[in-house]
């Protein structure tokens, strides 16, 4: 199978899954007990006129599939409907809040990749005490929920020591970076531990293989063996965790943004869930799912380029 055909097939598969996901996200609202109108009113009583207005605004008199396709058509044009609590377009809310979240996730991702790969490499190459230290540290890192990390970092570095602001997201890039440092660390902690472990075991596996022994016996310098034969070989395994890393970042950002009072889409999802603002919940959920799938797609397409031994389409499931 040629690369282009493989790419086209993967994109089509992703579109199909995304379509089903959108159906799940939209359909969930209609599983709710009671009529959609009473659900949208969230227990508030309304006059018959108000009820009729709501029915008209959300086209609740149309059959379900008609509504679904109208919503989907809107989504494809960037129109996610109107927020019930904020009384503005959801797309506007998203445009306001997405940049902060993306910046936070990018910072966390940079930390995860830099520190995770470093620790994994040290553990695998040095062994001994370094290995044990990394194992113990990562054991605690993967056992710490991100919100607990957020609260603890906040208590120590923001309140006790006063090095960082304890909440908000700041104005201007420099200020934002300063405000988002602690949240990014809290967000990155769990994944750094996970990536370090994956890197470590992938590198240990590569170190065990015969081509490394051959390279060493031929007198290739150790640095070069590590870089060109061990690290290069374990890159594929590390890359397969990409989708998991990004989806975890997207989910944990809900907790971290709430803990630090950062006005991103994570906090938006939390607020709109508590206030039963369903159009907003739908939009944010769909964006999270879409971002996750997009990253998985990129990983799938990159994998054969990074590791030519991977036959197209037979990506080993990242367990």
């Amino acid at each position: 199978m040629s690369f282009v055909r493989f790419a086209v097939r993967r994109v089509a598969e992703m579109a199909a899954t995304l379509l089903t996901a959108s159906f799940v996200v939209f359909g969930a609202m209609y599983l709710a007990p009671g009529s959609p109108a009473s659900f949208l009113l969230a227990g508030r009583s309304a006059s018959p006129e108000a009820l009729a207005a709501i029915n008209a605004q959300y086209h609740l008199d149309d059959p379900f599939l008609v509504r679904y396709f109208r919503w989907l058509g809107g989504v494809l044009q960037g129109d996610f409907g109107r927020s019930i609590t904020y009384r503005t377009d959801v797309s506007r809310l998203l445009a306001d809040r997405l940049p902060v979240t993306l910046l936070l996730i990018t910072m966390a991702l940079a930390l995860v990749v830099a520190v995770g790969l470093f620790l994994g490499r040290i553990a695998a190459v040095r062994g001994g005490a370094a290995d044990s230290a990394v194992l113990v540290t990562t054991t605690f890192a993967v056992g710490t929920p991100s919100f607990a990390a957020a609260v603890l970092l906040q208590g120590l570095f923001a309140v006790r020591l006063g090095w960082f602001p304890s909440s908000g997201s700041g104005e201007g890039l420099g200020d934002m970076l300063w405000h988002l440092t602690l949240p990014a660390i809290a967000l990155a902690l769990y994944l750094t531990g996970m990536l370090a472990r994956v890197t470590r075991s992938a590198m240990l596996e590569a170190l065990d293989s015969e081509h490394v022994t051959v390279a060493r016996s031929r007198g290739v310098p150790e640095r070069q063996v590590i870089r060109r034969h061990v690290l290069r070989n374990s890159l594929g395994t590390v890359l397969t965790t990409g989708g998991l890393i990004v989806s975890t970042l997207l989910v944990c950002t809900i907790l971290v943004e709430t803990a630090f009072g950062i006005g991103g889409i994570g906090q938006l999802l939390e607020l709109s869930t508590t206030t039963k603002d369903f159009p907003t919940v739908q939009a944010v959920s769909l964006i999270i799912v879409a971002l996750f799938m997009a990253v998985n797609l990129v990983v799938d397409l990159l994998l054969p380029l990074v590791d030519p031994r991977v036959t197209l389409g037979s990506r080993k499931a990242a367990a």
């Binding site: 899954t17 089903t20 710490t144 919100f147 607990a148 609260v151 799912v289």
Partner: protein, 284 residues
């Protein structure tokens, strides 16, 4: 993760041997479970007894771990919180394990369209991170413990079913299965009586690891105020309640539940990982 089973790793072979860290973690798991079971007998105070005059007091003889912002005894809330904090993940793990084994076995045994339908739906569930699915369901059905537990169980199901599927496929190729088939045993009988006991340790080890993750996810939902109802003692909820106190420089009532969560999750992870290593001879 391919599990190569060269012998029948019966449950009886699981012994508490080896590293001190592992023993320590086994002890921790036992301690937390016992604390949760006997919490009502152990607690010194009513967990919801409010004493505003004594709010945020530090550790004292009367309150060994201090009190929170509403003057509630932290030790009592921690002990009783262990019940909710462990019961939720237990529900998630039991449901996802039972359903996951059923789905995975069916997919591997029947093959064909059953397999592809189940694999497709698995991929769809994978697209929804557990917590997102839970939030989606909570936004429809409202807060409570049941909705998130069911949502997380559904989200964890694919991990179990995929593992089960690969294990059953490996078992199916082995001669003893054909032997039973020749003798006229039914598929259900072979799966339940012979394959299931063979794959159980590996699946249960994975479920033990899942327990820690489910605990973190459920605690996260409680922290968002979307999990357990407000007055129920729960570790995640305690961190949420303690966050304002931390801002005012009284971190104890938030740090303690965090520490309990981390220790419990680490203990379950270490025990589960080690078990998985033993039964599946898995590489770390």
């Amino acid at each position: 993760m391919t599990a190569v089973l060269t012998r029948r790793p019966g449950l009886a072979r699981i012994r508490a041997t080896g590293s001190p860290l592992h023993l320590l973690c086994l002890g921790l798991v036992a301690a937390v479970v016992l604390a949760a079971l006997f919490a009502p007998l152990l607690v010194p105070y009513d967990p919801n007894a409010v004493d505003l005059g004594n709010a945020l007091a530090g550790p004292s003889a009367a309150h060994p771990l201090g009190v929170d912002a509403a003057g509630r005894d932290t030790l009592s809330r921690l002990l009783l919180g262990a019940r909710t904090s462990l019961l939720g993940p237990l529900g998630v793990v039991v449901f996802s394990t039972v359903a996951g084994i059923a789905v995975g076995t069916a997919a591997a045994w029947r093959g064909g369209w059953v397999d592809s339908v189940l694999s497709r739906s698995t991929e769809l569930v994978f697209a929804f991170p557990g917590m997102l699915l839970a939030i989606l369901i909570i936004s429809v059905y409202g807060e409570g413990l049941l909705a998130p537990v069911i949502a997380l169980a559904v989200a964890y199901l694919p991990y179990v079913s995929r593992l089960t599927r690969s294990l059953v496929l490996a078992e199916r190729a082995r001669p003893y299965v054909s032997a039973y088939q020749v003798q006229g045993h039914s598929a259900v009988q072979i799966c339940l009586r012979h394959i299931l006991p063979n794959i159980a340790p590996v699946v249960l080890a994975q479920s033990t690891i899942n327990f820690g993750y489910a605990l973190m996810d459920l605690a996260g939902l409680s922290f968002l105020g979307l999990g357990v109802p407000a007055l129920t003692p729960d570790w995640g909820r305690m961190v949420f309640d303690g966050q304002t106190a931390i801002q005012h420089g009284y971190p104890l009532s938030a740090i303690l539940p965090c520490a309990f969560m981390v220790l419990t999750v680490v203990a379950f992870n270490v025990v589960g990982e080690r078990w998985a290593d033993r039964v599946a001879r898995r590489d770390r």
